[in-house]
């Protein structure tokens, strides 16, 4: 099984060293390279979409308009017009995760979002935007987030405790959901692809049997395409919901 190690695809390898901070090496890794690649694809797409906008959209322009409308509708339906100032944040996060997920499906590539450090950075960005904007907008009234209205006094301490725990678990679940989905999907793909080579070792009969896991791999790749989009959408929608708590003061 060692040859078919399904975790190997997530290895971060150094391409070149940028410098040292303290005793730590700051290296340009394959992860950084794929992140730059993701940004380059989004940049080309969006520049192509906005170059010479026409009444009858070009192909680039329709993709740009579709993704804009999609994210804008989601954000507006959850936060109302007050949340539209966060549109650049939500749109950037959505596009980054979507493109990174889609790149990751291509065989032999590295998927950036299957590392907790990347998704945790994105989730913490959202979390701190939410909290800082909430305090800026509502002052100490933001803390009413922890005290839902209409709760009888005897059980209030318990509810406040639960609310605080749920508050701090939000960035954790926000990041782990994306990371674990991508990780699990890629491991499953790798395991099924591994069955193909394992069966191939048994000769002619093995080749015939290997058709089944191969078909399964193709089907799983299609499923992963759906998951890649869905997880980007879920991440964006949760971002909208958290920001809405900051804008409208929660309960």
């Amino acid at each position: 099984m060692a040859a078919l190690d399904p975790i190997h695809q997530f290895q971060v390898t150094k391409i070149f060293t940028v410098g040292h901070i303290g005793g730590h090496e700051i290296a340009f890794t394959n992860s950084s390279a794929y992140m730059f690649g993701t940004l380059a694809i989004i940049l080309i797409l969006m520049l192509g979409a906005s170059a010479g906008s026409r009444l009858i959209p070009t192909r680039f322009q329709s993709v740009g308009e579709l993704s804009y409308e999609f994210v804008a509708d989601t954000l507006r339906s959850i936060t109302g017009d007050a949340g539209m100032k966060f549109f650049p944040l939500v749109f950037s996060i959505f596009m980054f995760i979507l493109v990174a997920n889609l790149i990751g499906i291509i065989p032999y590539t590295f998927s950036v979002t299957s590392h907790i450090i990347v998704t945790a950075a994105l989730a913490l960005l959202v979390f701190f935007t939410w909290v800082i904007y909430g305090f800026y907008k509502h002052g100490l009234h933001f803390l009413k987030l922890f005290v839902p209205s209409g709760i009888p006094a005897p059980i209030l301490p318990l509810i406040v405790f639960i609310e605080i725990v749920s508050f701090f678990s939000k960035p954790v679940s926000h990041s782990v959901r994306l990371f674990a989905n991508m990780l699990a999907g890629h491991i499953t793909l790798k395991v099924f692809a591994g069955f193909v080579t394992m069966l191939g070792a048994f000769g002619a009969l093995g080749y015939a049997g290997a058709v089944l896991p191969l078909a399964m791999t193709v089907a799983l790749t299609a499923l992963e395409l759906l998951v890649a989009f869905l997880q980007a959408y879920v991440f964006a929608i949760l971002t909208c919901i958290y920001l809405n708590d900051g804008i409208h003061g929660g309960h």
């Binding site: 679940s173 699990a184 879920v234 949760l238």
Partner: protein, 75 residues
């Protein structure tokens, strides 16, 4: 019992938790579909809620899968 065997058994037990998430996700999509067939015009407006409910439910299954993966590959 050998530690390696205990690790694998533990990972298997942890993966059982995903069954609960399966029930939950099934309930969410089943109920959404039932409601959408009754009132198709209201279905589109609830799509965001559907995905939110799906995400929150699925996260719990993913957590148990994560425990299983950690047991298999990290410890």
């Amino acid at each position: 019992m050998e530690p390696a065997a205990a690790k694998l058994i533990g990972a298997g037990i942890a993966a059982i938790g995903m069954g609960g998430a399966g029930v939950g996700v099934g309930t969410i999509f089943g109920n959404y579909l039932a409601a959408a067939i009754r009132n198709p015009s209201a279905a589109q407006g609830q799509f965001g809620n559907l995905i939110f409910g799906f995400a929150v439910t699925e996260a719990l299954g993913i957590f148990s899968l994560l425990v299983a993966l950690l047991l298999l590959f990290v410890f």
